[in-house]
């Protein structure tokens, strides 16, 4: 039985964030106290050299919670999917 207090989350990475992290998607269990997008970034930075490099300058990384653009201070309460990516360059 999964611990109901833990936060199961799908994390997605795109473009050079994906390359530095080393994978495009993963399922994680976020620790207690991780409440905002910027908390997630802080936690990710400690997960290895690839993560540290990808998030070395967090101001260069954008985020989306459940496929909607958000600011770093956004709450992740109730979120199922968080994506991290560079500023977009389509068009």
């Amino acid at each position: 039985m999964p611990d109901v207090s833990s936060k199961q989350m799908k994390l997605l990475y795109f473009a050079w964030v994906r390359e530095r992290v080393g994978c495009g998607a993963e399922d994680v269990e976020l620790p207690e106290g991780v409440a905002t997008v910027s908390d997630v970034v802080g936690w990710l930075k400690g997960r290895g050299p690839g993560f540290a490099e990808a998030f070395a300058r967090p101001e260069l990384v954008r985020a989306a919670v459940d496929k909607v653009h958000v600011k770093p201070a956004a709450s992740i309460d109730g979120a199922r999917e968080i994506a991290f990516f560079p500023p977009v360059t389509g068009g």
Partner: protein
């Protein structure tokens, strides 16, 4: 209507499909974005990555906002993904209205918003090297001018 696809698009066929059988459209604007060789003949190809699911949601949101701001009879956004070559089509925006100003403005707005909000990323391949294209500050400024 929005579409994300690997295949090329035919501007004439898209316009025809949009206007066929209608008599209420007085102005139609199309914008086509092409893969440009930004490095004097050295860019061999370009890879367009995107965020499946969010891309479609974001394009639909942008299109809905344009339809709220201007009286459009029809609108269409097609964006290609995958591997493209210099000269290839990347994006098509079509806006149709009773009068030209709404069609011009809405097309411009759609492109400005798409460039700063739709989750696409370009990687240019030059010879044996490749690099992610940097976002341009001027694109952010262009989108910001529509904020009221």
């Amino acid at each position: 209507m929005i579409r994300v696809q690997t295949e090329d698009f035919d501007i004439g066929a898209e316009v025809k499909a949009l206007t066929s059988g209608r008599t209420d459209i007085g102005a139609l604007v199309t914008f086509t974005g092409l893969v440009r060789d930004s490095n004097g003949g050295t860019v061999a190809s370009m890879e367009l990555e995107h965020y499946p699911g969010m891309t479609e949601k974001e394009l639909s949101r942008i299109e809905a906002e344009a339809n709220e701001r201007w009286p459009l009879q029809a609108s269409l956004i097609i964006h290609r993904v995958g591997k493209l070559s210099p000269g290839d089509n990347i994006v098509l925006v079509v806006t149709a209205s009773a009068h030209r100003q709404a069609a011009f403005d809405a097309a411009s707005f759609l492109m400005d918003y798409l460039k700063t909000r739709a989750p696409f990323w370009k990687r240019e391949e030059t010879g044996d090297k490749s690099h992610w294209v940097d976002a341009r500050e001027s694109d952010g400024e262009a989108a910001a001018k529509w904020d009221t």
